[in-house]
């Protein structure tokens, strides 16, 4: 069942929830990436990447701009074709599955929401249910449920158009849309990067809260270490298209590779020094 929480409740973000959420539920992988390589226009973008996402776990892909994290995410739902390696989703090779059906089982959220500007919030959220031919009443009920879950009052937001929403509200709708058909895996590409820090923190907390109740697996791209430490069950650090390390947030704080240290340095708070 979905969380009945409200926007207000999500504002408090106890570390207890974090600790609870960030533990993988089970060891069985929902997604397995094996020796994945990818070149775009002859330039290697991904080199021999192997990574698994366990059921219920959020794996954060952390890296600088151009490190290949978005490309890696896009190979999972077939928006980018890899040159080598294999992707196993729910125990079956992704290459052997119909890409259309595959994508409908993976929720997708991107930076500016990617909402359809000519559709209402309700039509946006109901997209995959509609593609999957759900009865309209069921889809409408689901929309209401999801709007509540992401902290938007259904009766107020259902009939709005994306241009009538703030940045944070668009992202909430984007997340609701990704969750609509209850996909086992969420793919999120810097979903909170364009928000102001206060709204971003709100949404990050809500994402944790949501995960506690819906228990989804997620592959989450970010360049923000803070976000990676807060939301990740594990952090996969990418450097120049190769996997630098894969660690839990706790272990990551003590990581010693140059790239990890560079990221950790960005957490410094020089204004606190005397």
């Amino acid at each position: 069942m979905l969380l009945r929480g409200t926007y207000g409740q999500a504002k408090a973000c106890p570390t207890a929830i974090m600790a609870y959420c960030n533990q993988p539920v089970s060891a069985s992988p929902i997604l397995e990436i094996r020796n994945l390589s990818c070149a775009i226009a002859g330039r290697p973008v991904l080199r021999e990447i192997s990574l698994t996402v366990a059921e219920g776990e959020t794996v954060v892909l952390l890296g600088r701009s151009g490190s290949g994290k978005t490309t890696l995410l896009k190979t999972v739902n077939g928006l980018v074709r890899p040159n080598g390696g294999e992707i196993i989703f729910q125990g079956r090779s992704a290459a052997a599955q119909d890409p259309i059906q595959l994508r409908r089982r993976m929720g997708y959220v991107i930076q500016d929401g990617g909402l359809f500007p000519h559709w209402t919030v309700e039509a946006n959220i109901g997209l995959v249910p509609r593609l999957e031919n759900w009865p309209p009443e069921k889809a409408a009920a689901r929309t209401g449920e999801l709007l509540t879950a992401v902290g938007l009052a259904p009766e107020e937001f259902r009939n709005r158009y994306p241009r009538q929403l703030s940045g944070g509200q668009k992202q909430r709708v984007g997340i609701a849309r990704a969750l609509a058909a209850d996909p086992p895996l969420l793919l999120m590409d810097e979903p909170f990067a364009a928000l102001d820090p206060i709204t971003r923190f709100d949404l990050q907390c809500q994402f944790l809260e949501l995960r506690r109740t819906v228990r989804k697996s997620a592959l989450f791209v970010t360049h923000d270490v803070r976000e990676a430490l807060m939301l990740g069950s594990r952090i996969a650090l990418l450097k120049d298209g190769a996997l630098d390390l894969v660690l839990t947030p706790h272990e990551f704080l003590a990581a010693q590779t140059p790239e990890a240290l560079a990221f950790l340095r960005s957490l410094d708070e020089p204004w606190r020094r005397e």
């Binding site: 409908r104 359809f116 500007p117 849309r177």
Partner: protein, 205 residues
């Protein structure tokens, strides 16, 4: 002032309108699907736009002249006129439709694909609705300019309001010229208003 009788003005106006409607229907039926096809193919797109551009630079009287001797499509009459007018109407329709489809936000198109829409669904449910204001603007420009250009159709026996204009010029008779020019101008203004109204009605939220 002795202009031509009202009944003749009405007949020729109807003929003029017919020329325009047939032309726009054909140009739209060719131009919009061509834009859909070319939107995904950059190299043929450059050629097609170049071709349509060149078509538009040929003076209309010269184009009618070129078409006349061509067997099959040429000859005196309405058909040759419509073919020439289509060549002119095609560019604004093609270019506007293309820019409408290509102008759809990349993140919107990417989301549509990533959510599991088929290419056909992306086209009909996302790209075309979002491109529709631009496509309609192209139709409007093409219609208005065709109403003007269609007056030249009379030079090759295509009929329409141009008949008055050529007759009036030959007789050096201003009322006869105006009997062709004024209804054509009114028709262009009305078409512009009506199509703009439709554009506003259909524009996505």
């Amino acid at each position: 002032m002795n202009g031509p009788p009202l009944s003749e003005i009405l007949t020729l106006s109807a003929q003029h309108l017919e020329l325009v409607l047939i032309t726009i229907a054909i140009a739209a039926a060719l131009g919009i699907p061509a834009a859909v096809y070319l939107a995904r193919r950059p190299t043929p797109r450059r050629w097609a736009v170049w071709f349509a551009n060149v078509g538009q630079t040929i003076p209309s009287l010269a184009l009618f002249g070129f078409l006349l001797p061509i067997p099959g499509i040429g000859g005196i009459g309405q058909r040759t006129a419509i073919i020439a007018l289509c060549i002119y109407a095609l560019l604004p329709i093609l270019r506007n439709s293309l820019s409408g489809i290509l102008g759809v936000d990349v993140s919107v198109r990417e989301s549509a694909v990533a959510m599991g829409m088929t290419p056909r669904q992306v086209l009909w449910q996302v790209e075309l609705p979002l491109a529709s204001p631009s496509i309609l603007a192209g139709l409007r420009i093409a219609t208005v300019s065709t109403i003007g250009a269609a007056t030249i159709a009379a030079a090759i026996g295509g009929g329409g309001l141009g008949v008055f204009i050529f007759r009036g010029l030959a007789m050096a008779d201003t009322p006869t010229i105006l009997a062709g020019a004024v209804p054509a101008a009114i028709m262009a203004l009305i078409a512009d208003e009506v199509l703009e109204w439709i554009e506003r009605k259909l524009s996505p939220a």
